[in-house]
Symmetry: C2
Subunit: 146 residues, 2 copies
């Protein structure tokens, strides 16, 4: 029997793990994990980006992004831009994977919204976004954080 923790951090970590598993499962037919789809969708929006910018965009450490990109490159989903060896874009395969995954993602989103209810779904987004500003006091968090 799972314990009911009163810790904000533990509860959020567990919830994130559970939701990640759910999205991983939803995206499995497209051959992508939730984190990978998120990265590819970001690159699709960016068009092309170097590691530093992409990492900032994703809210990840640069070293994490280096390794994430390596996996995506090894699978042929992203490729270096021809002109600059330092920026990346979606490969045709990556583009195809994003297109396969997009409706699966949308379905997972809708099912989760239905399960949570609109109010909790909205609160989830709102509070998650607030929490993301905890470590970036300069952008939108109000400066002094705690």
């Amino acid at each position: 029997m799972r314990v009911q923790s009163s810790c904000y951090c533990t509860n959020l970590r567990r919830a994130a793990g559970t939701l990640t598993d759910r999205y991983d499962e939803a995206l499995r037919p497209a051959g992508l994990r939730a984190a990978q789809y998120s990265l590819l969708a970001q690159l699709s929006r960016l068009g092309s980006a170097n590691i530093t910018h992409w990492a900032r965009y994703a809210g990840l450490d640069r070293s994490t992004m280096v390794r994430n990109i390596r996996l995506l490159r090894d699978r042929g989903l992203v490729e270096p831009d021809v002109g600059s060896g330092k920026t990346f874009r979606l490969s045709p395969e990556g583009q195809a994977a994003v297109e396969r995954a997009a409706p699966l993602w949308a379905k997972a989103q809708e099912e989760l919204r239905a399960w949570l209810g609109q109010a909790d779904a909205d609160a989830l987004i709102r509070i998650s976004r607030r929490l993301q500003t905890l470590d970036t006091p300069e952008e939108g968090g109000g400066g002094h954080a705690l």
Copy 2:
């Protein structure tokens, strides 16, 4: 500039990462990460537990728990029970670490509650707990999940 994702999963994952970093920092003087403190506090409540029960209690995969326990054992924070080689308990060092960490954790909790406000803090716990039931339809989630 960090993008504003509309994905429930991505937002929750980022929020969990940010909050984990915050708690890791708060607990650093005690020499524990957030995940480790969570596990030790659980074991403290359980008194003694085998891997399977502890993993269920923590909402983690058993294999994850095997590796988490190895780290805690290597640091001398938990030890096998004398009678049964299969159950673990806090070592005196583990007990001391939990006692060092507890007030740091409480301070982080209070600071976060103050920063979020009581309403959002309550919503965070409530919604996180609901989400944790997504993958365990038999306990409290309502059976059919989505």
